[in-house]
């Protein structure tokens, strides 16, 4: 199946901000109304373009957080220190404002129900965003069929620095609690709440061997996060024996980022 948007011209559209939802201290979700949105697949992104009064323009890419089933398009934006666009999107923009965007973009880092599973997701920090679209898409399919036994099993391994920096924390807990075929495993690399019994280190080979399905199950693997996390997780998965072609990666941020 070909992801949505491939082969069509991707034109700029004017999106209206319907709501701004705080997620963590540094991230907000922009809920957008996009007239004539052509639809998308979970994992795809959009380009956002801002124009100042003197005509200066800046463009950046943001992953889509909402599943294809939602009527509204959601982007979760992390405010980057010294960023040019993200502080505007995460602080200045409010309901009623408009921005230009175009998409959906990207035909490789995508997961739809027909791709199948098991689905193994590895996230670092705001790398959760496109993976959340996959989990939401999966959940929407579950709600439709109403039978968890027909579900594609999924596991998420999610690395954050602190518990209060875990994006979508409550929603992930709700999804996992209501779905026996979904497991959510956190690792917290800097600070832990009192009584924390989960992982407390960066994602490594041993952790992946413990959490991931074995290579013989041929899980569909998606890894998204800062470059060092993606590099080490993807390398470890290949060392464990997962086929490189089943390990899809999306890297972002400066070379030195860490989660």
């Amino acid at each position: 199946m070909s992801p949505v948007g491939i082969g069509q011209k991707i034109s700029w559209r004017v999106a209206t901000v319907i709501d701004v939802v705080p997620e963590t201290q540094r991230t907000r979700t922009l809920v957008l109304d996009v007239p004539d949105w052509p639809g998308h697949s979970a994992g795809q992104h959009v380009d956002v373009r801002l124009t100042s009064e003197d005509g200066y323009q800046a463009e950046r890419s943001y992953s889509i957080a909402s599943p294809p089933e939602d009527a509204r398009l959601s982007l979760t934006v992390e405010q980057l220190k010294d960023g040019e666009v993200s502080p505007y999107l995460s602080e200045e923009l409010r309901a009623g404002d408009t921005i230009e965007l175009r998409g959906p973009i990207g035909g490789y880092f995508v997961w739809d129900i027909p791709v199948g599973g098991p689905l193994f997701l590895v996230a670092g920090g705001s790398g959760i965003v496109p993976l959340m679209a996959m989990l939401r898409h999966r959940n929407a399919a579950l709600a439709k069929s109403g039978d968890a036994r027909h579900m594609i099993p999924a596991r998420l391994l999610y690395s954050s620095r602190r518990w209060d920096e875990v994006i979508y924390r409550d929603e992930l807990a709700r999804l996992a609690a209501s779905d026996p075929t979904l497991e959510v495993v956190h690792t917290l690399t800097r600070d832990r709440p009192e009584g924390w019994t989960g992982f407390t280190r960066r994602i490594d080979r041993e952790m992946l061997e413990e959490v991931a399905w074995p290579p013989s199950e041929q899980p569909r693997v998606f890894v998204c996060g800062p470059t060092p996390l993606v590099e080490s997780a993807a390398n470890a998965l290949v060392e464990i024996g997962h086929q490189p072609a089943l390990v899809k990666t999306e890297r972002f941020g400066p070379t030195g980022g860490s989660v």
Binding site: G7, I10, Q57, S61, G106, K248, T249
Partner: protein, 206 residues
């Protein structure tokens, strides 16, 4: 007409920076890493490079033979389709012109299109005219040091006047073709040619 974003000022750029940035790009001093899958690792003893003609004739070099070819050093601005540009990157490698003339001596005849093939299965296509005339290299040194694997080492194609996905990492073969054949991203919604100055990011961009 573009929509004005209320309260957006953007970053003030010098005229020099603005003049070097293609539309929609911003300057970064980092060297971000982007690839669709795990980083392949090939031992230099197992590495070779092939130039294959449309008729199947090939020229092939081992690592030692390849790096013994006449080298060039070049300083270029590079532009990634994900919006970052990096100025004055310094590369060392073998000009594709050199590879073609060495291969011609072995009976490999030029053809109008090129498909670069890489470890890990990545491919990208470019017209021959865009990799000849001093416009492209197979680079194995970056900033005076061996090219790190995450940036495409042992060797990557360098076609700096096109978006950087055309500068295929982990390149092992240039295949000459009589007709154009889209590569990996070119089959997944990205532009077939990818000129950053015309902002040809995605299929359908003019």
């Amino acid at each position: 007409m573009a929509l004005i974003s209320r309260g957006f000022r953007g970053r003030k750029q010098s005229a020099e920076v603005a003049g070097r940035l293609p539309p929609g790009q911003y300057e970064t001093r980092d060297f971000p890493v982007l690839s669709a899958g795990p980083t392949p690792r090939t031992a230099l003893t197992a590495w070779d490079f092939t130039l294959r003609g449309a008729d199947g004739r090939t020229a092939r070099w081992t690592w030692d033979e390849f790096t013994a070819l006449p080298r060039q050093t070049t300083t270029k601005d590079i532009h990634c389709v994900t919006k970052w540009s990096k100025f004055d990157t310094v590369w060392e490698g073998i000009s594709v012109d050199t590879l073609l003339s060495e291969a011609a001596a072995k009976g490999v005849v030029a053809a109008p299109y090129v498909l670069a093939r890489c470890d890990g299965g990545y491919t990208t296509n470019v017209p021959l005219a865009d990799v000849t005339g001093g416009k492209a290299w197979v680079a194995f040194m970056y900033n005076g040091a061996p090219l790190p694997p995450e940036h495409g080492g042992p060797a990557r194609l360098l076609v700096p006047h096109l978006y950087f996905w055309k500068s295929a990492k982990w390149v092992r073969e240039l295949r000459l073709l009589e007709s154009d054949e889209p590569g990996f991203w070119e089959s997944l919604g990205y532009h077939n040619y990818g000129d950053p100055w015309r902002e040809q990011r995605y299929a359908g961009d003019e």
